[in-house]
Structures are given as structure tokens and as C-alpha cells.
């Protein structure tokens, strides 16, 4: 390891002994070489360091928002008040496919239950298990496919040139949402003349409506490590940090176990590898904010340029790729670019009003209609495509839309990481929009002015809209300020869902 110990793991260690004291934080800061102020900033930024005592938290995500969020929350507040326990909400845990979810937090420890209903809350109040534990996603949530089956044996490293050429020939793109050609990033990091380089696996899947990375990390982590190791060898990196979303504690264990297993096989020889528990915030999925959080700072997006390929983790050239992307890279290496291109696999997280919510491997270009049919959608009226940072598609207008990189983009949409949240005509899409805008206001890091100040106002405008006080001109103006003015994708994408609702559905709601 060429860097000093990392702050967040040190704080997590201290947290196991009880609430953090300034002395713990100062000691952790000294060990990392960070100013105490920076460590304090981290403590005040990441929610888990503020946790004390017991809290009952309803998981807030778009699907539950479209259903019984308000009544569940009311019920939760009622039982919690009676029990003298603090209550509230917490954002998406990647459990949209299972139904409403509840988090019981006790100091640094958390138990997660899904699905839950009002009866579950009564059980919780009575001191019983409120519902099925949801520490891991059920394996059977996924159907078949290259990514969803047991992986092939890790392939031999074919050499940097060949791997990068294969990625290019395969048409492999970044699958965390931005769809940047993978070979370009590999090439850019490889081209850097530096003694130290890093590969960072972005397993911070915080986009509500997405849970395919969670499934991969829990049920096929070896494939991801395989891809990461290949990428590290291709770019000349000596260290891999696998960043797992803070809330995905089960996934963290599975990823770590896979690392040990693969390391024991010798496949990771010559590489420093570690699993890193993420900060537990949506912004941590933004690649530069993610790097900041590994460095022990507030997870705030950096200005670009420089890009991580030039100056990433600790200022060194860094390849940051999403979990699914690296799994695909492993498959390209195993099956060859031609076979991969033939198949064009992509994972989709499908939830909401479908018979079989879950993770689906579909070929890119599958139409929306086909995808919905695969999951057993009935009378779908709308699909929130991509996630909270996505757009509402209207059905049946969009039924024939091919789910690939290009076609949605041509009409101002994107598959993003691959989420489809399906809503039938009984659902209040403005309730979903209200939840989404509350989510962005909550998750804004506080760095740039348009996002930190604009997202709460977006939420209030949507809240008012839902209650009959409609200011479309302000909504449009704010949407534009957020999209054009914000520093990172969080703020830029915050208004997309609301705006698509305005553009595509507003007459329905009048």
C-alpha cells in the first residue's frame, strides 16, 4: 500500500466501541495524515457517524412512494412515538423488487426487513421480528444470463493491448449510467506515466430503482473481481479498491469473501486489493466524490478536468469503473469480443407494477414492451427509466423504444444504469416525483449553489404541485438552473423526472 491508512475504516473501527468522541476522530486523523478538521468534516458528512441509539426507518424509494408511503410512514411514526424510539426515513437500499422495506438501526448496527406492511410495524412495536430479513437479495431474484450464472473460470490476462482492443471491438461501455466507452478509459489510464496507479471498482449503487449491482456483488462477486484484476493489469495499476455502497453490508461481506477466495487462487498475485465500505450517500457513486471519500474527505465531486484517469485517487491515475462494467470486461475476456457483441448483454433492474420484479439480463436493443413483458407487466402507464435520475416514459407511446445506449438518448432519455420502475394507471406519478425530489434535496452534498439551494425548492414546488399549487414557469426555470448550473450529475439530473412528467403527463393530472 502506497498510501496511509484510510479514514473511514478507522472511524468504523472506533464506532464499534460506541459513539465517536473527538479523541477518536483526532487519532484517526493523525493515522491518516489528514488535518483533524478534514476528519471532523467526514464525521459530520457521512450519516452513519451521527447514529446513536435506536431508530426505526422506512426506506424511501420511488415504488413505495407510488403506493402506500404516506400511510406506512404515518403508522411508523405512530408506533415509534408510542415506543419512545426515533423514526424517520432512509433512502433506497436496492430493495424495490421486494416491496416496502424497514431499517432498524441500533447505534452502528442495522437490520433490514422487506417486505413490510402496517402489521409489520405493530410486530416491531411488540418487540417481534417485523418481517422477512433482507440482508441479502434472494439469488432467485435474477433469471438467467451470462452475468447471472456461475462465472466461467477467470481467464488468462491476454495482454493490455489485446484486452483493450477486445473491449473496443465488443463495444463495451460504462454501465454505471454514463455509457462512456470502456476502452478509452483503459487506454487513458494505461497511457499515464506514473509509478502508482489505481483501479477503483464503483460498487456504490445508490440510484433508486437499481439493484443489479447489488445482486452482482452478492451473488457473482468473483466475476467483478476478475474484471477488475484484468483491468488493473491492462492499465498497469498495482492496487484495486472495491468500493461497496455503505448500506450493502451483506454485499460487502460477499465481495470481501470473493476477494479472499480469488487471492488464494493466485489470480490477484502482484495486486494490492481491498474492499472499502462506502460512505452511505448517493453522492458517493459519483466517481470523483467516491475517490474523495476513499481519501477520507467529504464525498464532494471534483471539478473536471482533471479526470480520474489523470489525477484520481491520491492524485494518481485511476481507472474507476462500475461493478457491472468490470463484470462485462471479464466476460469479454472469457468469451471473446465477437460472442459478446452477438449477445450484447445488459442487466436491468425491473420493479414496480410487474408480476416478477427482479434483475434481468436482456440484450441491448430489447424494446421497452419486450422488457416489460419479460417481467410480467400488466397495464403499465409509465416507466421511470434509469432511476431517480431518470425520466418518465409514457406508455403506450414508448412501447417500441429500444433499450440501448442510443435510442433513448436521441429523445432526451437514457437507460442510465438500467432501471425500469413500472407504474400502472392507479399510481400517482406526482407522489413519485415528490419522493424523487425529496431524495435529491436530501442527497445534495452542499458544494455547488444551484444544487444545494435548488433541490429543496424543487421539492417544495413539486410538493405544492401535488397539492394543487402549480408554478410550471418556476419549475422549468429551476430545472434549467439545476441542469445547466450544477457541478455534478446529481444536481444536473435532479429535475429530469419532474420535467419529463411536466412534458409528458401534465395534461393527465389537470
Amino acid at each position: 500500500m502506497n498510501h496511509k491508512p484510510l479514514l473511514l475504516p478507522l472511524l468504523d473501527e472506533a464506532l464499534k466501541r460506541g459513539p465517536l468522541e473527538p479523541a477518536d476522530v483526532a487519532a484517526a486523523a493523525r493515522a491518516t495524515g489528514l488535518p483533524a478538521a478534514a476528519a471532523w468534516e467526514a464525521v459530520r458528512f457521512y450519516p452513519r457517524y451521527a447514529a446513536t441509539g435506536e431508530r426505526w426507518l422506512l426506506v424511501d424509494e420511488p415504488v413505495v412512494r407510488s403506493r402506500n408511503f404516506d400511510s406506512l410512514l404515518n403508522a411508523l411514526e405512530r408506533v415509534a412515538l408510542a415506543a419512545g424510539v426515533e423514526s424517520g426515513t432512509v433512502y433506497s437500499y436496492g430493495l424495490e423488487a421486494l416491496g416496502p422495506a424497514l431499517v432498524v438501526e441500533q447505534g452502528a448496527e442495522r437490520r433490514v426487513y422487506a417486505p413490510v406492511d402496517e402489521a409489520s410495524l405493530e410486530r416491531l412495536a411488540a418487540g417481534a421480528e417485523p418481517g422477512p430479513a433482507a440482508g441479502l437479495l434472494p439469488r432467485e431474484l435474477a433469471g438467467g444470463g451470462w452475468l447471472l450464472e456461475d462465472p466461467p473460470p477467470p481467464p488468462q490476462f491476454p495482454g493490455a493491448g489485446e484486452l483493450i482492443a477486445s473491449a473496443r471491438a465488443a463495444g463495451l461501455r460504462g454501465l454505471g449510467g454514463a455509457h462512456f466507452p470502456v476502452w478509452r478509459k483503459l487506454e487513458a489510464v494505461r497511457a499515464q506515466d506514473a509509478a502508482e496507479k489505481y483501479v477503483v471498482v464503483n460498487g456504490d449503487e445508490s440510484e433508486p430503482g437499481n439493484f443489479k449491482d447489488r445482486w452482482l456483488m452478492e451473488h457473482n462477486p468473483r466475476l467483478v473481481w476478475t474484471g477488475a484484476a484484468l483491468a488493473a493489469r491492462a492499465v498497469g495499476a498495482s492496487e484495486i479498491v472495491f468500493y461497496v455502497r455503505g448500506e450493502y453490508e451483506g454485499a460487502l461481506e460477499r465481495v470481501e469473501a470473493a476477494r479472499r477466495e480469488l487471492a488464494a487462487s493466485g489470480y490477484l498475485d502482484g495486486l494490492e486489493t481491498s474492499t472499502f465500505r462506502g460512505g452511505g450517500l448517493y453522492i458517493c457513486g459519483e466517481e470523483s466524490a467516491l475517490l474523495e471519500s476513499i481519501e477520507g474527505k467529504r464525498a464532494e465531486p471534483r471539478l473536471k478536468p482533471p479526470y480520474p484517469a489523470e489525477a484520481g485517487l491520491f492524485g494518481k491515475p485511476t481507472l474507476v469503473n462500475n461493478v457491472e462494467t468490470l463484470a462485462h470486461l471479464a466476460l469479454v475476456a472469457s468469451h471473446g469480443a465477437d460472442a459478446y457483441r452477438e449477445r450484447r448483454p445488459k442487466l436491468f433492474s425491473i420493479s414496480g407494477d410487474v408480476a416478477k420484479p427482479g434483475v434481468y439480463e436482456l440484450a441491448l436493443g430489447t424494446t421497452l414492451e419486450e422488457a416489460l413483458a419479460a417481467a410480467g407487466a400488466g397495464r403499465a402507464r409509465a416507466v421511470l427509466l434509469g432511476g431517480a435520475a431518470g425520466t418518465f416514459l409514457k406508455l403506450p407511446d414508448a412501447a417500441g423504444l429500444p433499450l440501448d445506449f442510443e435510442a433513448p438518448r436521441a429523445q432526451g432519455d437514457s437507460i442510465g444504469p438500467g432501471a425500469l420502475m413500472v407504474f400502472d394507471e392507479t399510481r400517482d406519478l406526482w407522489a413519485v416525483a415528490e419522493g424523487v425530489s425529496a431524495f435529491f434535496a436530501h442527497e445534495s452534498c452542499g458544494k455547488c449553489f444551484p444544487c444545494s439551494l435548488g433541490t429543496p425548492h424543487l421539492h417544495r414546488l413539486v410538493w405544492n404541485w401535488r397539492r394543487g399549487q402549480r408554478r410550471p414557469e418556476l419549475l422549468h426555470e429551476l430545472a434549467q438552473a439545476l441542469e445547466q448550473g450544477s457541478l455534478c450529475g446529481l444536481g444536473q439530473a435532479a429535475p429530469w423526472a419532474v420535467r419529463s412528467l411536466l412534458e409528458r403527463f401534465v395534461e393527465v393530472n389537470r
Binding site: 478538521a37 436530501h442 449553489f449 445547466q484
Partner: protein
Amino acid sequence: MSRVAVVIDGLLVQAEPDWTVLEAARSAGVEIPTLCHHERTGTEGICRLCMVEVAGRMEPACATRVRPGMVVNTRGAAVEQLRRTVLELVALETNVEYDDELSGWMEEYGADPTRWGEPLAGRRQRKPLADNPFFVREYDKCYNCRRCLDACGEGIQGVWALAFTGRGAEAGVTTTFDLELAEAGCIFCGNCVEVCPTGALVPLEELRAAKGGPS
């Protein structure tokens, strides 16, 4: 090193290669408003008021280096609307009564914060903090430009007595471990007061004098 030719609002500007768009614009007498940028601090790209159009994209002038052949529009309709919205939200949420520069821009861009209703961020309710003999911190007037943080830490002093806390609209400036300034390692150089654009950090002497009494 040879100069870089860029066009800013139709003016040909010969910029030094390491200049930002903001520097190039200023050299040509083109004013671009900024709240977070300061020549002595490393703060940049935070307030987003200096966004300009470059080839149809918005870029922060204070954090964007000049590139040969760059064509910059500092006053397009989209730019002006963005600035107006940001100014309105800042002025709505923050007590900016002593920030004359910002007030000037509010007028210039026709900003009317009342369009957005009541404030949401809770900033205006913050109480003054007077924990030392030299200056007072009135964070109702702070819009998080972070110049003070940089002056205290990386940019000038290397002391890191100040720290940033919280997220989103609730975020703000605190001290290390939320201690009183002296306990947090402050050496009262006042370089934070120096770079503060809003008057949130104000010399005690000035407050006393403004209240009319002798010190």
C-alpha cells in the same frame, strides 16, 4: 510561452496559456460575476455564478482554462437566467445585506428572490457566534463560498481551525470538533475575515463602531 487567442463576447483576447476564462475576460474588461472565487484562495467552481457558454456548453469561467480558438459567450440568455436564479436563491436563503457586490448583480440581472416564497434552508435563523476578542461569526450571512475554509487551511494559513459541516442546504461552516475557535486551533490571523465576501465574519471593533459606542 506563447499566448492563446480566445474570443470572449466577440472580443479577441490574447490570453496567457495558464489563464482561466475568468482571467482572460477580466483582462479584456469583461466582468463575470463570481461569489466563491478569490485570487488568494483555491475556491473555484462552487457558486456557479460565473458559468459561461462555450460551444453550447456551460462551463465555470473561474475553473476553466483557456483553450486555443475558444469562443466564449458570457451574457447569453441561458447564462443570464441561470445567474438570476442562483442570485435569487442565494439572496432568499442568506442575509446578504452587506454584500454590495451581490446586491449590484441582483439589480443588474433583475433578480427577485420573493418569487420563490419563504426561505427553506434555515440559515437566516442562525445566531451570531462571539467566542473570541477579535471577530464575530454571523452565519446567517454565510452562503458557503468556502473562501474562509481555504484561507484557514490549504490556501493560506495551514491551520484548519474551520471545517465544513452538514450536507445540502443545511451545510455550513463550523470549527474542528465544533469547538470555540481558540480551542479549535485558530490563531486569529483573520485571513478568513479578509476573504469573506458577505460580512458573516466581521471584526468586533467594526461591530462596536457600527453600534456607535467606543470599543
